[in-house]
């Protein structure tokens, strides 16, 4: 791909705006904050796009700028105090998914389909759409915690402080988020096409 034409790159940045907003929203779970982060990332990209060196795709570059804007917003906020109330946490977690996954003896209750990575660009676009839908299905707490770890790469300690939970609770939240994502993708992704 050739991004050397300035008007091209400006157009392309604009077409990626929605994708950036959706990612910011999954992390922040707040529309106006997600708008702000997206707006700032786009402005920063437009100001510095001549410095974009094509070592990565434009989208990857934009996501890395967005990441810093989201981090600024998160770190500027007052941290919550740890909540030791596990009952409140349980409310946020979708427990029903887990009832049917394992037998009482801890064995999987159903065979697992063999997944393979998407084979083409079209398949990958489809996979990402489903992944985004599955991330949206997570509770706000689970989504924020999961993406703080997997995207922002905050340490487990900082993630606990930001979410306001103990490290034991964080472990449960992340476990369930990963299990829910696998389950959701298993239901929605037709990978044997």
């Amino acid at each position: 791909m050739n991004h050397s034409d300035t008007s091209n790159i400006v157009d392309e940045i604009a077409t990626l705006r929605d994708a950036l907003f959706h990612l910011a929203l999954l992390q922040l779970r707040n529309k106006s904050e997600a708008e702000d982060a997206t707006q700032e990332a786009i402005l920063a990209a437009l100001e510095s796009h001549t410095g974009f060196e094509h070592r990565s795709s434009l989208k990857t570059w934009l996501i890395s700028i967005l990441r810093f804007k989201v981090l600024d917003i998160i770190r500027a906020k007052k941290r919550l105090l740890p909540v030791s109330n596990m009952a409140k946490l349980e409310e946020e977690l979708d427990v029903t998914v887990f009832d049917s996954l394992f037998e009482e003896n801890g064995c999987w209750s159903a065979p697992k389909d063999a997944w393979s990575d998407p084979h083409s660009h079209v398949e990958q676009v489809q996979f990402f759409k489903i992944l985004e839908a599955c991330l949206t299905n997570l509770s706000p707490t689970a989504s924020r915690a999961f993406l703080m770890r997997e995207w922002l790469e905050l340490s487990p300690d900082e993630t606990c402080a930001q979410i306001g939970v103990s490290s034991g609770n964080l472990r449960v939240i992340l476990y369930r988020a990963r299990m829910q994502l696998r389950h959701c993708l298993d239901l929605k992704w037709d990978r044997n096409a």
């Binding site: 990857t60 394992f102 389909d113 770890r149 472990r171």
Partner: protein, 66 residues
């Protein structure tokens, strides 16, 4: 002499998740490998997690799309 406690499928999923936060102990790694080696269900599930984490990395802009 190593004395290995067998783990369940459910235990393996906890270890697969925990491994994203911390380095597993050598006992945990051994138990995980031993279980998956003999369990077809967990072979399927760990392949699914592998695909999930790899695609998530691409979705989050951490590695290039094909």
């Amino acid at each position: 002499m190593s004395h290995q406690v067998p783990i369940t499928c459910k235990d393996t999923t906890w270890l697969v998740s925990d491994a994203r936060e911390r380095e597993l102990t050598s006992e945990e790694k051994a138990a995980l490998t031993a279980h998956i080696e003999h369990c077809e269900l967990c072979q399927g599930a760990s392949k699914q997690f592998e695909v999930l984490f790899r695609q998530l990395g691409m979705f989050l802009g951490k590695s290039g799309s094909p």
